[in-house]
């Protein structure tokens, strides 16, 4: 059975155990793969003290749903959860959650990686880092764009 994608953009934190519990309910799934992105204390050699995420309300949800739909076309997935936080987050806080379930692990691993690669390059989120050198908008990385483009040629 296919469920609607569980896509959320929110300021509040999420609980990985709760999300896992929700993903892991279906006994036809042999694989649950999850990814959590966190605020780390460095970027490009600079100290980071906190991170603020801005987004484009409305467009963000649309793009995330499109990305999830594309993942479902590529792999036989059952449940998919994508949560992305916005607002200011302290060091170590959770930013993003991706969870996918499938009968087999290969599809679940691949879809999870695909989702994070596409989310990083297609969804309208922007990171503003605060650190010892003041505030700084994070620059888009060519490597992230290349990772997303590689999916055109592999499955």
């Amino acid at each position: 059975m296919r469920l609607l994608p569980n896509v959320r953009v929110q300021t509040v934190d999420f609980n990985v155990a709760d999300e896992y519990h929700q993903l892991a309910q279906d006994n036809s799934d042999g694989a649950v793969v999850t990814f959590v992105g966190k605020v780390r204390d460095f970027n490009d050699g600079s100290v980071v003290t906190d991170l603020t995420l801005e987004h484009y309300p409305g467009m963000t949800e649309r793009i995330l749903e499109q990305i999830v739909a594309e993942a479902r076309e590529r792999w036989p997935l059952n449940k998919v959860t994508v949560i992305h936080r916005v607002g200011t987050m302290a060091l170590g806080e959770q930013i993003v959650f991706i969870g996918v379930t499938s009968a087999h692990r290969k599809a679940a691993f691949a879809a999870c990686e695909f989702l994070i690669d596409f989310l990083k390059t297609k969804a309208p989120f922007w990171k503003l880092e605060a650190g010892d050198k003041g505030k700084n908008w994070v620059e888009a990385k060519d490597a992230d764009e290349q990772a997303a483009q590689l999916w055109q040629h592999k499955s």
Binding site: L53, V96, L119, A123, W126, W137, V138, E139, A140
Partner: protein, 83 residues
């Protein structure tokens, strides 16, 4: 009217998150709208001239020759960096 939105550094550098502009002959494409807004002053010209600037028309990433109609929502922003 065209509803124009700015995000991230573009919003910060312009000091504006949103504005409305009368649709005209000059604003019939995303590029035309950008040029019209860039004519505001030197600051706007500089920020909107960035070769990394992206445009979304009605919440879909678009090309610069994309048609813009009265009542559309057009957003200008830098490359995205979420995740």
């Amino acid at each position: 009217m065209i509803n124009v939105l700015f995000f991230a550094q573009v919003r910060e550098l312009l000091g504006t998150a949103q504005l409305s502009i009368e649709a005209s002959e000059q604003t019939q494409t995303a590029e035309g709208l950008r040029a019209t807004l860039a004519a505001t002053d030197d600051k706007w010209a500089k920020v909107l001239a960035s070769d990394k600037l992206l445009v979304a028309v009605n919440q879909t990433i678009s090309q610069w020759d994309t048609r813009v109609n009265d009542g559309d929502e057009v957003a200008f922003f830098p490359p995205v960096t979420g995740g």
